[in-house]
Amino acid sequence: MAFDVASPSSTDTPPPARASIPARTLRTDRWWLPPLLTTLGLATFVVYATVRSFMRSDYWDAENHYLTPFYSPCLSDSCVAGSSHFGTPIGELPGFIPLAFLSLPFLLGFRLTCYYYRKAYYRSIWMAPPACGVGEPHERYTGETRLPLILQNVHRYFFYAALVITIINTYDAILAFGGENGFGIGLGNVVLLLNVVLLWCYTLSCHSCRHVTGGRLKHFSRNPVRYWTWTQVSRLNTRHMQFAWLTLGTLVLTDLYVWLVSSGAIADLRFIN
């Protein structure tokens, strides 16, 4: 008797159907909190970054030679004197174009197509799914199989661009050790340096980086150097999410610091000279 009921092949078995559980989820924890915090975090950054990118003031501290990453590289005649570390091959720019128009779109693209940020905004903004085991509100779902989301596959090209921009940011941070009065170290240098170090961690821990350095190989044993590199990138890669958030934080912090110092709101704390 008991076997009869459990056997799907008995003659009076109904057609297969899922257990009827009307509730969208039976989770009792605060599953909505992480997506909410993610949305707030991303929105804060986007608003801040947009405002600052179009502001066109207080991005270069002439005294200590601090340049905010939001205006690097500054290549046009509209840039204030001294802030252009690579000359000004581009003439005046109309006000609606950010001065770092050559780097910002790539940085945006890099983060938008990043595997971690994809997870973050798919969950929090698109709600597919908002949390594990919580029903998503969409009728249909095709994931990244068609346009536009299939374009996420270009991530690796943004990675290469981001590498170049990170090198430029590093160069900016090094130049900042030489201010108006020659070599010196201030709190601004520490902030710029910390930002650059974390940007390297974020960029090198990228999944595409992990793939190109060694992940794509079938035989690690035949490529010991690439295997070693892959191992190091993999170690960083496990913290990719942390670096993604940390760098959003340090980017804002760095920019804010340069803003405050260059506008004269606060004075740079000097350690040496």
Binding site: R18, Y141, E144, N153, H207, H211, K218, H219, S221, N223
Partner: protein, 251 residues
Amino acid sequence: MAYQAKLRVWRGDATAGELQDFEVEANEGEVVLDLIHRLQATQAPDLAVRWNCKAGKCGSCSAEVNGKPKLLCMTRMSTFAEDEVISVTPMRTFPVIRDLVTDVSYNYTKAREIPAFTPPEGLEPGEYRMQQVDVERSQEFRKCIECFLCQDTCHVIRDHEENKESFAGPRFLMRVAELEMHPLDAGDRVEAAQSAHGLGYCNITKCCTEVCPEGIQITDNALIPMKERVADRRYDPIVWLGNKIFKRNGA
């Protein structure tokens, strides 16, 4: 210290069913499966539940506890407050047979769709030689106990029954990755991952990784590396050109 735990268990079959409340004795050190067994022994002798090892190794007792995909035998009662109502329901993604038992044959169908390990031509069994570093990645995936909790939680099929046709699910995309990374597998897995097994449906939201009782990094170590390989093959003109010019075929 024994106490009366409040369980809300789904009971029914494919035609109808509902959550029913029970009070069941709970003792120190017990897991949810212990209470389900006590419920069977004392109040509901016909309650259907699938289990085997009670050690988190056979993958039979998969269900959902408070809405989260879990192994019943590995979910400790001490993780809940004593007055908390604990819901125990069958896996949502698969058709229910009765009570907590579901029909997981979708998974066996998907498993069969993946061509078996294919050794290089001319290499006989017994002649396989490989280095430990080369099989390490595949070995992580061999820890799988086939509990199908990852399949259950994946929203691609959990929320969209119609995607079952084209999507193999994390467990089996991981199987594809295991073979693709295997040093001696000569099959072409990359193209099939995208076209036959539906890798593109995955949006790397990591629920499979979150629920895996074996702690396998399914998304980071199997799904994303496969997505990168597909990008090599399909969406990266430079890699494509390089492969043409240098006639490379896997390194």
